[in-house]
């Protein structure tokens, strides 16, 4: 191990234990330790740690706190539906559940600071207290004074307390426009391939040798490293596929040392895993079941996206087609498509400059309800009475998320919609009605 954790505040033994737990994150851990200082030192008021998903932020912080037995509380911001809940959890973590009774319901940061002051004066601690806020990016969506308040909490409550923010987003995206106290920013870079290998090898299977598992991880990283660097996900995939890897060993066909044969056996399997189970097209349980079956039967399993077909009532289909046409055709071309005597239309002269790009590249455009209905009536062959259920079908298409409603003003008189389905989908729908939709699309003229 090239870098030893060193700190005068803590015993060698504890630091040794800590170092074992945080593989490949020694640099970051020692920086953090240096920042935290000795237990009774006043620490910098706020520390901001950022890095991608599964880059060891929470793990390292948590390990330091646990191993060095520092008073701390960890709160995940995603769980706190309101600020009050967040305060409650902080107070509960630091002072026990009785203390939460002091917080009024629907407390603001002011109440929190008051209660905290009161509690800290009752139970003074010579050690620094730590408040760790996980997924701190969600703080931005809460009350505006929450983030600045936590950033200078030490100053507000006049106590030896440090707030550690853990986030997947860089600090620049947090900074409020009104300015605030700047925290110390610490970056956790992604693990590289070697580090991933080192970490993944740690969870070797008890009944096989670590070397075998290491070689398995090596093969797996070779396949997956290009698409996925998420440690958590890789670990999951390793666990799913290891039994398959060991199959020839179990049958006694191959020795542990014969890596080439093992590789040949597992590689196609892993490639398939990349297309199915990694994308969650197939659930992990199904994947495991499939592995136990024979090779012949496999492959019958269809992924989630294979079931794209949607049954719709007859008029709903036409409404959806009309919506699609209204979304992807310029309004001026409606004459040409839906009137009998429309005269000739030359594409080049007719088009304005911005219309020369394909509408399908630009995405759907909003259209008013009456245009939708006008197109609908000219598309359906027989006469349709404007019944209530035709209109209610439009709103049920909105709830099914096949159409989306645009804008919020004037919803009663002239609502606007967008069509939210793909060309493939609408072509499949049109085919069931034997309606040639491509003939009506301006882009394919």
């Amino acid at each position: 191990m090239p870098l030893q954790l060193q700190h005068e505040g803590y015993s060698e033994e504890k630091l040794g234990l800590l170092a074992e737990k945080i593989t490949c994150r020694e640099t970051q851990a020692s920086t953090l330790l240096a920042l935290l200082g000795e237990p009774d030192h006043y620490t910098y008021p706020s520390i901001f740690i950022y890095g991608h998903h599964a880059s060891g932020k929470s793990h390292v912080t948590e390990c330091i706190m646990k191993e060095l037995e520092l008073p701390h509380v960890t709160v995940s911001c995603v769980e706190c539906v309101s600020a009050g809940l967040l305060f409650e959890q902080v107070v509960m973590g630091l002072y026990g559940s009785e203390a939460t009774a002091l917080l009024p319901r629907s407390s603001s940061i002011l109440d929190f600071v008051r209660v905290y002051k009161q509690l800290s004066s009752q139970e003074p601690s010579y050690q620094t207290r730590y408040i760790i806020l996980d997924r701190a990016q969600l703080l931005r969506d809460m009350e505006a004074n929450l983030l600045p308040g936590f950033l200078r909490l030490q100053e507000l409550v006049d106590d030896n307390v440090t707030v550690i923010f853990l986030s997947e987003i860089v600090w620049d995206k947090f900074r409020p426009s009104t300015g605030c106290f700047e925290p110390v920013v610490l970056h956790f870079p992604d693990y590289n391939k070697g580090e991933l290998h080192q970490i993944l090898t740690l969870d070797s299977h008890p009944s096989y040798s670590p070397e075998l598992y290491s070689s398995f991880i090596n093969i797996m990283l070779g396949v997956f490293y290009s698409v996925c660097r998420d440690l958590r996900e890789l670990r999951h995939l390793a666990a799913l596929n290891f039994s398959k890897f060991c199959e020839p060993l179990e049958r006694g066909e191959v020795k542990e040392t014969d890596t080439h044969k093992l590789w040949k056996n597992i590689e196609p399997h892993l490639k398939k895993a990349m297309q199915t189970v990694y994308l969650r097209e197939v659930s992990s349980v199904q994947w495991e079941e499939q592995q136990q079956k024979e090779e012949k039967e496999a492959g019958a399993l269809k992924g989630l996206s294979a079931y794209a077909h949607v049954e719709l009532p007859y008029y709903s289909k036409f409404l959806l087609i009309a919506a699609y046409l209204a979304s992807y055709n310029p309004a001026r071309t409606d004459r040409r498509f839906f009137l009998k005597h429309h005269g000739k239309l030359k594409k080049t002269n007719f088009m304005k400059k911005h219309e020369k790009t394909s509408n399908h590249l630009l995405g759907p455009k909003p259209f008013p309800l009456d245009r939708l209905l006008a197109i609908f009536y000219s598309v359906v062959d027989n006469r349709v009475a404007p019944t209530a259920s035709v209109f209610s079908q439009i709103s049920s298409l909105v709830t099914l998320q096949l159409l989306t409603q645009v804008g919020h003003d004037d919803q009663l008189d002239a609502p606007k919609y967008k069509c939210a389905v793909s060309l493939d989908f609408i072509q499949a729908i049109a085919r069931t009605l034997s309606f040639d939709i491509v003939r009506y699309l301006y882009d394919f003229l």
Partner: protein, 722 residues
Amino acid sequence: MATSSVSKGCFVFKPSSKKRKRVPRVEDYFTEGNDDAKSAKLRFNICQELWEKIKSDTETLQEELNKKTLDSLLELIRKCASGFQLKANDWAGLMRASEIPTAALVLGVNVPDHDVTFQGLSELLQQSVTPFVVSVQAKECTALKHLMQKVLERIMGVDVPLNEEDEGQSGSCSVPGNRKRARCSLSSLCEWYQMAVKKFAARSPGKKCSSLGKDVLPYPPVVIIFKDLEAFSPRVLQDFILICSRYIQQLPLMFIFGIATSPSTIQHMLPHSVSSLLCIELFQSLSCTQHLATVIDQLVLTPKFPFKLTGKVLQVLVSIFLYHDFSVRNFIKGLQLALVEHFHSQPLSVLCCCKKEAVDHAQQFIHQDVERVRQLPSFMRYVENQDAEEQVKLLTNDDHVKEVCQKLIKNLRKYHKNYHPVLRCLHSLTSSLPKYPLGKQVRELHISCLEKNIWETEEYNTAMQLLRMLAKDELVAALQNCADLLRPAKSEKMKEALQQLEDYITKFDKLDQLSSEDLMEEEVTSPGKDLQKKTDLFQLQKTLLEMRESRRSKKMTPFEVLRNQVLDIVDQLVRTYLIPPETQPMNEVCYYSSSGVLRRHLNATPRTSIQTALSHPYYYLQHEGLQTDTGSISNTAPDICVVYKLHLECGRLINLFDWLEAYCTVVSAAEGKDPDSPDYGKVDELKHARFIQAVSELEFVGFVKSTKQKTDHVARLTWGGC
């Protein structure tokens, strides 16, 4: 109300207890407006009875249909729940990211039907797997906290306040010390769950755990059902899943997603980082068209229920289903409406019940009822076909009519008993033919049989021709099917028909032994040789015609003979039993025919009604002064009608002042003023106010709206002129 007081003032009158309004019962609505209360009550009871029967039948039917899907779903839940503990020991389980087991239940776009399914599902779960089942709907969960609150409240059965909002409502409870109610977070659910499990475990070994099935799991899962996944805000769902995944180690959570469109919505709604927390398994329920087919099969195409629909009514119901909503529940509601309407509007529907009761009721007919019977078109036709003496008797003797009635009712029942088996037979024969000349579904065939003589249609003849070309194995299989369908029928006639069919099937079987000998005898003459000699076109045509003749007259193989015979029998069955019900006397008793009423009620056209009201006020107001020629409008019509009429003549933008002037002219004419007088058509305050009111009414109804494009103008919201 009068007082004895001489002074003016406010007086309080307490309602006298005697006069208190009775809350009308359903029955009262039914009998209201009917002169004959007794018969109305009787009809109401029959109707209720019938409806209860239909309802319970559909419910059991739905349960059966969903059974397979729900059973496999339950299996999954059980498996996941029992796997909850095992995971800790297993290496792979330990390494695997703990995913939340999720069942994606694809139910189709008929959202109104889903409620029943979910209800059944959660009941089933509560009975056999876990007491902790909660279902949430999108509309009650617009924000994460609401979703959380709903989940906690429904599982724990306590009030979970959200911090801000409940403050006002429950002022007394908001004392900080008084914290009986749970906090709105999953950690409190976790604590509660641990307690509940302990309690549960302590209680169950002592008592017999009959309430929860045989195998009670030590850790019953907490199942959260999202009824309509599409309608949930993706943001809320993502956050909720993230939170849940933090607790999956301590709390055996499970999700069930109710999906209306396709499973790929999950991928559209959730990013990979979230969907990787789920272990999704797919369940597909029966498609709604199949569902409808079964429902029709059990409710409509059966002699079990005396109540019947005519072709048009059935057509209306089916087309609402196919064109508009795909909802089986709405179809059954429509059936219920037809049922109630029938019993309400047709006094003779007392006879529309089981045979014995119907006979009794007919016996008790009073003179008025007998008169009603005589008025029935089908009965009149029946009378016309009788000889003179009988006719006189039928028209004068009430008792005789009663007797004939009983006989006719019995006949009608017999007709139904024979009709349905034969219908099914014909369908099973023709449903495998290419291009489905008589329709794919039984209901299509049923509708065409109801409307006309099926054997006179083109489609029937093509179907028969195709049947006459069937190969032997196909034909025998089809006949075997028919025989199977006829077997449960109880009537004598059907038994005979079955016997005949079975005889033919055995004959076909015997044919196999004979055929080899017969084939040898058959002379093999190929007419092709002669053809080559002919060069003349006319000659060729002539020979070809001759050949056709000769082929027709040529001796048929024994198989062909048999085939023709058996098909003649089928044809005969069709001609005897599939006659349209209109030809049956007294059919009005059982058949509900007003498709127009049904359509008006089920498939309303609010816009058309408004337009009718505005352009033809007479239609609704029935005031003589309003009656005009078509197209024009009386100037005495209500203001809004005049304004509406005038606005039809304008373009997209309407100048308010011009409109007002035109309005004043019309109204002045109505007042009967002299057109030459100087203040004719002048705007006075009263007219101005009336105009403003009319325009704002029109705006309220949605025909115009104010616009910022031009001052003093309003925009039209409808297109088309007068």
